[in-house]
Symmetry: C2
Subunit: 464 residues, 2 copies
């Protein structure tokens, strides 16, 4: 390969020239013909050569152009908007600390179980490896998910479940089906920032309701349903993102009654469910998948690399959602991927993995909360599980300012207002306990908090 590259660089070979025959070049180089074939083939894959059937190998028309391929696309300077955390976290370099990101580090995830599952799926029928899935997704995972839903008291039948590309894509498909540009959609304040980015992409009017430690403020919820007539309400019932709070049974009941009297559809995004130490009430179970749509994924508990989510809903909605998914993606997740997930979920591994994770996270959450309190940052509540701590900063600190400063030190934080449709959370920040190990993070945070406290440009003077 180096010999060919050198000849092209020195223009001994140029655009369109035929390369020496396999046999001839093998003789010149003193290697086997198979080695030359492999080298030529790799140069074809790199775009330097072109193979013509039955005629040999030729130098590509563009072989002389310099190929600039940086490791990654540089993150853009951007506003502290709902995209801020995702793009900065996704495109972070290996030396970046990410206490603001929404997932566990690789060494918390079950890599060995995934390796085993991949080796198992490598032995699957050829059709699993090469064919499209059925429109509702492959059977093994759908069967397991239906069983899990039944276990939660959600008695979905086979035509009430659709696999899709991710939890986010689940909501996207639902918005395509049930909402049109200009409609109002209700979210919690605060809520997962990407709900806001997604709704913006749909040109939807976002309205919000304050979130309390027991779910949405029900009086405010009823008012906003009456005045704004939202078509959808998107929420997390347990281990709410970012607060870690959990909906109470009483609020769940009131919420569903209010939804019924205003014909509101509720999307219950349950991706953190398996982090709960004990299951709590679910809107989908109370409602029996009538006006509640359940969505979920395994990105937080198994692997974010796998890309698979699901939707459980009324049969007629599932049929329409399957059509929308075919029209816009020609189907759902890869059958290779869904079989890997089914492989990990069946048997006892997953339950033990989640028990271990919960134990480890419980300890970590308390350690990080203690450290945060020691620099004046107070968790709004101690969540029953999961990895988020939603915290109030000391008086005078603006979380967007601190996040911008931290980014200069290669630290990605999640400032409060990216979660807040009403922009009420400038003095809050979400921390991911499992991503807080870097000492630089604690240094920069402590300094920033101290500086914020000392400054006259307080949050109140800027935002209140």
């Amino acid at each position: 390969m180096e010999a060919v590259r050198a000849r092209i660089a020195s223009r001994a070979l140029t655009n369109g020239d035929r390369l020496p025959s396999i046999r001839g070049f093998a003789g010149i180089m003193g290697v086997s013909p198979a080695t030359v074939v492999e080298a030529y083939d790799r140069l074809v894959a790199e775009g330097l050569l072109r193979a013509k059937a039955g005629s040999g190998f030729y130098v590509s028309a563009s072989a002389l152009l310099p190929l600039s391929l940086p490791e990654s696309v540089p993150a853009q300077a951007r506003a502290v908007d709902p995209f801020w955390v995702s793009r900065q976290s996704l495109d972070a370099g290996p030396d970046t600390a990410k206490p603001g990101c929404g997932w566990l580090p690789p060494d918390w995830m079950p890599a060995e179980a995934l390796r085993r599952a991949l080796r198992n799926v490598a032995r699957a029928d050829a059709s699993v490896l090469t064919d499209y899935a059925a429109s509702h997704g492959s059977h093994a995972l759908r069967r397991l998910l239906l069983a899990r839903l039944h276990g939660e008291g959600i008695n979905a039948s086979a035509n009430q479940l659709l696999l899709c590309g991710s939890g986010t894509q689940a909501i996207d498909l639902i918005c395509r089906l049930l909402v049109k540009p200009g409609d109002a959609v209700l979210v919690d304040d605060p809520c997962y920032f990407n709900f806001r980015a997604l709704l913006r992409a749909h040109q939807i009017r976002v309205v919000s309701v304050p979130y309390t430690q027991n779910g949405p403020d029900i009086a405010a919820f009823e008012t906003v349903l009456a005045t704004e007539r939202p078509r959808l309400y998107i929420t997390n019932s347990a281990l709410h993102n970012p607060t870690g709070a959990t909906l109470s049974a009483h609020n769940a009941h009131l919420l569903l009654n209010a939804a019924a009297s205003h014909d509101l559809t509720v999307v219950e995004d349950d991706i953190f469910a398996d982090f709960e130490p004990e299951p709590t009430i679910r809107l989908a179970a109370l409602d029996g998948l009538n006006r509640v749509i359940r969505i979920g994924s395994f990105s937080k508990t198994l692997s974010a690399s796998l890309r698979c989510g699901y939707i459980a809903a009324r049969p007629e909605w599932i049929a329409e959602l399957a059509d929308v998914q075919v029209a816009t993606s020609f189907g759902g997740p890869s059958p290779v991927i869904t079989d890997v997930i089914a492989n990990v979920l069946s048997g006892g591994f997953y339950r033990k993995h989640m028990e271990d994770l919960r134990q480890r996270l419980l300890k970590k959450q308390h350690e990080v909360a203690t450290k945060l309190r020691s620099i004046g940052i107070e968790p709004w509540l101690m969540p029953r599980g999961g990895f988020y701590l939603w915290c109030r900063l000391p008086k005078g600190c603006d979380s967007a300012d601190i996040a911008r400063l931290a980014l200069e030190h290669d630290i990605v934080l999640a400032p409060g207002n990216v979660f807040s449709a009403a922009q009420t959370s400038a003095d809050f920040m979400r921390f991911n306990s499992a991503q807080c190990d870097d000492p630089r993070f604690w240094q920069v945070l402590a300094q920033a908090v101290q500086a914020g406290r000392a400054q006259p440009t307080s949050v109140e003077s800027k935002h209140g």
Copy 2:
């Protein structure tokens, strides 16, 4: 597991009951405690039991409900619309013949290479198996794709390439960015049916231009640009779906000039490129990725199960498309999947695989064309490659009628008008040469054609 199931069925154990301890049940059954743990765990995965940390296993609240899980969701009776072929093909049972579908059978696809690649990726870094990809997709595949684009004379830089979930999703993202409801989008008549389904999902006004054996009819193209002002034109330049025709160099030049004078953006969907015996002209190369957006995928050549597409375009569009993809799917394809593809593409395997496929298809295309001609069905042209034959039926035959009839015999066909925005193709049908082996198909087709010829309700009398 059977013993537990029997106890639940006989109501010896019921909702909420605690199961015997591991040790106790192992004693009763005469097996090891590890066996009991495994059995309980599997029953948890099936939803029959629930594990409570530190307390044991309990019968699920819903364990007594019958679980009805049919192998697949029954295909719906539906109109012969743009969804018809996809849903019938995707949800076809194992005994269904699919001469209408748009992909190769599993035994034409490189299953062994995919198995090898999966085993290789099973050894990758834990982060590949568990983390999200960077916003533009993982590095290895992007690098190979850029090299391939350079090899075609499309000198894209790293910030001009985005990986996404499929070729279809590529177009979906582009529509989200560049088109709004009510805008016009131009397609060929005939064109790939799912373009029509996709545009319908976007509430886009579809306009069309007749497709000739050398590309779109350029006079008609210029007229429709002037009168309808479409925002986008979506096409396949080589081995056009469904016709198999290829754009001529002269038409490519005229088309781009017309596009420039009406500020039209062109989406060149190139998923059949690697089936060409020799590369032909590409709009993306002529234009230099200015107003042309190139999309592609490996669903037709490697595996439809893998779910990965790409978009090459102007840097500012790629940056915005990456944001839209994060907002609506939280990222692109699985890094596991993109590494599997990169693994298969690097080295010489892929080139040899495609040479073999082309040889095998060439033979098959001629065999099937000969058989079709023998029952009066005439290919509109013999394509230079690929697996489609776009054929005119004998006078009197309506392709939708024949497709409905064939479906009663478990045969999925692709009737002409699902491809035609202007509904001009009632007497055409698209056949997939690689999917025509079932003798039942030839029987049913020959009979249907004969019946159609004999009937007075001809296409002419019904459709004008």
